[in-house]
């Protein structure tokens, strides 16, 4: 977010002709370069109206909108829109054009030569994970999930610095939606885009937003913060109610295991004498023991089985779930409640890194 914001809304108001109340009233919002901002709120909060004023699908009644420091009202709407990617929930692919033609829409409008368009389309097909053989098909021959990938590719075609997305994954089934969300999350890491993303799904807003703007009826911003902050410190009762239950779980989902303090736990190398092993178990107050072989995780054994047999001759049982450092604290919690030993074991590249119990996870969000 260095320097000027990419998108700046200043005192923007929209009153629709058929209504006396403002759909959006005196809204000011800065969106940083390369940032992904999710707009979320109940229906009637003006989130979609706000989004559509940025590319002037809806013309503001008053106020100013700047994109990259330039007044969005100063150039013809169709030229403005060619420099802004746009993805809508109903996808809106052009039924009479092939997938390749659909993706190449804006480059054609910008007058690129055909060879350059072909190259760009081929590149985008890979970026969004489509099959190259689909290129000559028509939209009606694709599934909903595939169509929305085309929709995203079409929006990215002319490499616009700004991407507007209006509930882009709202019309696909939950399984496909999850996959599209995580793909889009990865995609954002590779592309340097400023994204404004409207959604009514709190989890989606938390997952995808660098910051989330929670809007109340009439386009009133209740809170505009990173998801962690929103979850930790809701600015108002409205925000708290809107986030709903399980706020703790939602926060855990945002925190990687790497942020928590891992404990060594009752884990010993198979070379230690059995007496030492029993001492470690006693020290941790558990009836099981984790076995390592030069840092590599072997598994665990029941404490009752540890007599004077060398540890190396025991047959350890594997941990059902192990997690790596990138996994979320929420998945660690899941591992704790489903594992026999009530711990989450963290392993990276086969090397034991430590473990987390319930207290350690709870500390992750309370500190």
């Amino acid at each position: 977010m260095a320097g000027d914001p990419m998108i700046r809304l200043e005192n923007v108001t929209k009153v629709f002709p058929t209504s006396t109340r403002a759909a959006v009233s005196d809204l000011s919002l800065d969106i940083g370069r390369g940032e992904c901002v999710t707009l979320i709120g109940p229906s009637g909060c003006g989130k979609t109206t706000t989004l559509k004023m940025i590319n002037r699908i809806i013309e503001p009644t008053s106020g100013r909108i700047q994109i990259d420091g330039k007044d969005a009202m100063a150039i013809p709407a169709h030229e403005l829109r060619r420099s802004i990617g746009y993805v809508i929930q109903q996808i809106g692919l052009f039924p009479h054009r092939t997938i390749a033609q659909n993706i190449g829409t804006v480059p054609v409008l910008l007058g690129w030569d055909q060879a350059r368009i072909d190259d760009r389309v081929a590149e985008l097909v890979e970026v969004v994970g489509l099959d190259a053989e689909m290129m000559s098909r028509y939209p009606s021959e694709l599934s909903g999930g595939q169509q929305q990938r085309v929709g995203v590719a079409r929006a990215l075609a002319a490499d616009p610095p700004v991407l507007l997305m209006d509930e882009p994954f709202g019309a696909v089934d939950p399984i496909v939606r999850k996959r599209l969300q995580s793909e889009f999350h990865d995609l954002r890491g590779r592309l340097d885009k400023t994204v404004v993303f409207v959604t009514h799904d709190v989890d989606e807003a938390i997952l995808l937003g660098d910051r989330m703007a929670i809007l109340n009826i009439g386009g009133i911003i209740e809170q505009y913060d990173p998801p962690e902050k929103v979850l930790a410190e809701p600015a108002s009762d409205f925000v708290e109610r809107f986030l709903g239950g399980e706020r703790g779980l939602k926060r855990l989902a945002l925190l990687p295991i790497g942020e928590a303090d891992l404990e060594p736990g009752p884990f010993v190398d198979v070379s230690v004498p059995p007496a030492e092993a029993r001492r470690v178990m006693e020290q941790h107050g558990v009836d099981w023991l984790g076995l390592l072989d030069a840092e590599a995780l072997l598994g665990w054994v029941d404490g009752a089985l540890i007599d004077d047999t060398p540890l190396r001759e025991l047959e350890p049982r594997p941990f059902l779930v192990t997690l790596d450092m990138d996994a979320s604290l929420r998945s660690a919690l899941d591992a704790v409640v489903t594992s026999h030993a009530r711990v989450a074991v963290v392993v990276e590249d086969g090397v034991y890194r430590g473990m987390l119990d319930l207290d350690a996870i709870a500390e992750g969000i309370t500190e």
Partner: protein, 221 residues
């Protein structure tokens, strides 16, 4: 009945061979009356449809008037036009054209209206100008419905052209009328078979045109 009673063959192939030039002339007359009427009908309809699409309130009176025209029996309309334009081809073309308007205008407007809202919004969002959006999105997407309208109008007109025989025209209708007057079955059959054949050929022709111009629409409209 006496003529039929003489056990004459149902089809007199010699008559057909002797009158082949006249059959060709009447074929041309039938086809040209159809083409001119539907063509003029299309031009007028496009004009009225554009006006209707721009000023919505205009559409209701247009469908009202064209609907009224459509209800007038053809023979009555020819007769009504006689004092104004006389008993000639102009009379026929005016009447035939007026019958095409309702169908063509309705399909033009329905076709454009049927373009999905999401497609229009996406086109706007990509940066199409209003004019480009109309020609590159709305018209191509409306084409199957528009052609379906032309198809119905054309087949209807082929049928109505036969009635213009009362004006001394009629295309194949001339043979039917003459044949009925003289109880000459060959003439009647020639008129009936050829006019049905022409309607069928044009119907299939439009179907192919529709498929050709809208390969993306898997289902025929």
């Amino acid at each position: 009945m006496s003529v039929l009673g003489q056990a004459a063959p149902l089809i007199d192939w010699d008559w057909i061979a002797r009158n082949i030039d006249q059959i060709a002339d009447r074929s041309w007359q039938h086809l040209s009356l159809t083409a001119v009427s539907v063509g003029i009908g299309l031009v007028i309809s496009v004009g009225l449809a554009i006006v209707s699409l721009r000023w919505r309130w205009f559409y209701t009176p247009i469908t009202w008037v064209t609907g009224l025209l459509y209800t007038i029996p053809s023979l009555a309309l020819f007769a009504l036009l006689v004092p104004i334009v006389g008993l000639n081809a102009t009379n026929a073309v005016i009447a035939l054209t007026s019958y095409t308007l309702l169908i063509i205008i309705r399909n033009l407007v329905a076709g454009i209206d049927g373009v999905p809202e999401a497609v229009l919004e996406a086109a706007d969002g990509m940066g199409y100008t209003r004019r480009a959006r109309f020609w590159k999105m709305e018209v191509p997407l409306a084409l199957p419905v528009i052609i379906a309208g032309l198809r119905i109008a054309t087949v209807t007109t082929v049928g109505l052209v036969t009635v213009t025989a009362v004006l001394g025209l009629g295309g194949y209708g001339y043979f039917i009328l003459r044949g009925l007057n003289t109880f000459f079955w060959t003439q009647i059959l020639v008129g009936v078979v050829l006019s049905v054949a022409l309607a069928t050929i044009l119907d299939i022709g439009f179907l192919f045109l529709q498929r050709l111009l809208s390969p993306w629409a898997r289902r025929a409209v």
